[in-house]
Symmetry: D2
Subunit: 156 residues, 4 copies
Amino acid sequence: MSRISYITNLEEWASSFLFQHQITVRFSETDMFGHLNNTVPFTYFEEARIEYFKSLGFMQEWVAADVDAIPVVADLQCDFLKQIFFNDKLSIHVKAEKIGNSSVDIHYMATKQDGSVCLTGRGTIVQISKSTGKPIQWAADAKNLMEKNKMLLEKK
Amino acid sequence: MSRISYITNLEEWASSFLFQHQITVRFSETDMFGHLNNTVPFTYFEEARIEYFKSLGFMQEWVAADVDAIPVVADLQCDFLKQIFFNDKLSIHVKAEKIGNSSVDIHYMATKQDGSVCLTGRGTIVQISKSTGKPIQWAADAKNLMEKNKMLLEKK
Amino acid sequence: MSRISYITNLEEWASSFLFQHQITVRFSETDMFGHLNNTVPFTYFEEARIEYFKSLGFMQEWVAADVDAIPVVADLQCDFLKQIFFNDKLSIHVKAEKIGNSSVDIHYMATKQDGSVCLTGRGTIVQISKSTGKPIQWAADAKNLMEKNKMLLEKK
Amino acid sequence: MSRISYITNLEEWASSFLFQHQITVRFSETDMFGHLNNTVPFTYFEEARIEYFKSLGFMQEWVAADVDAIPVVADLQCDFLKQIFFNDKLSIHVKAEKIGNSSVDIHYMATKQDGSVCLTGRGTIVQISKSTGKPIQWAADAKNLMEKNKMLLEKK
């Protein structure tokens, strides 16, 4: 059993991702302790999550100038399993763990080139109205896409 | 009851902080959705946590050039309760929730100028050896300081 | 004479600022070489420039939701005179050096607590239309305010 | 003639780069004006400069734990020719313009996917001693490598 609340079995969990995105640690992302600063993984999670949404085809709409629906972060967490250093090449794995009416729980895993897990994380994204701040339900096709993607994972 | 796992009663929890640090949201910290980017609160948490440690008198040692013991982040989480905007003046409240042998669980709360809570968070800091990566026990006086500080909170 | 192209006489130049803004170097702004990362001073310049514009009373308008005129950076430069470290307290000095029809040349100087100059910089800000991208002339009162402020400097 | 002091002829200058590095603009790098924040290009310059140094084979030494010689930025400048947006794919071109005994003047150019130039820049890097802060001459082979690379450019 894992000490991380959102992971029941680390090995099983680690094998359940279909999507990944590559990152190289920037020099400016290190700090004076000589490793990646603890605030940076959330930038990687955002970049990888957006690439995941782009792969499903629905980031384009969110950044169109006149659209009222935007995705916002409701919560975020990250567990730091291994120190990360300048120039490390990381794979950031992303999956939609649980799909609600206007929200989705996203899981993240970062692995080093030797395959070892250095970061795990999760967080809920909610689609809201820019003008009212209230949640907006997923369009049927967006929800379908995420659910198909999730079923692929479960069959895997 | 709260939906946030590390808070039993939000009102009680919110009143249990002694230390706070002021932040003004930078323009460069906003994103194209017009609000504070979701990766930035962790920078505020780090800044406020360090000010908290400085107020207890033990940050100076950690950043001395020849010291082997450094504090690292083991995990971090943040719940986003309200949107935050450019130029918002935030109070970042910090407390040591639980003190272990070589670790401490830190809680965070950000409030706006009207007193409303916009962010809550927590995360474990572990003191490790830079050279071996292994945990290093708190010096007796550091642990005492945090515990005294915590007792003050409980008497409050 | 100074080796910096935009400064004829460093002493004279350094004494010609009226406005300043305080910054404390964040831990997350250092890098693995143990000092402030070279990309960060531009964040300080932006923060101080905005505080300067706020002190003149015309930042509020630029960030109003429905306004078409926004200030953009046309160029930026920075000279690094002294290394800067975690927790350094810097004064970022700002002045409008030359005011055009739709642009303003801003000068910057950062000093440490001992008064020594650690950074100098300059850059042109242009007011443009968000929709067309074309320059928009300063409103008469904005230009007046900057010019009055500049005359104060010259009388100093 | 160009209005940019370090460029005599933009077309000629633009054709004089051999090395380039690809960047995709992150969402977290935009600001509330809807475009890339002006402080971010310096992060791209640093990343591309390091990739350039890596391609010549001498970044590895600088980040080794026990080495006293480190490269620091003496000055930096950037001209913003075109607005840059979320998800833009940029090529950051880098060349060593002038090689001194312990310093090198680096030039930068960012182009969009349509080939248009959106950013130009330059800045001096100096090799210094971490302990004394004094300049350290380039090793003969490092200087040779940069000079060979520069001659390739000139023959081009």
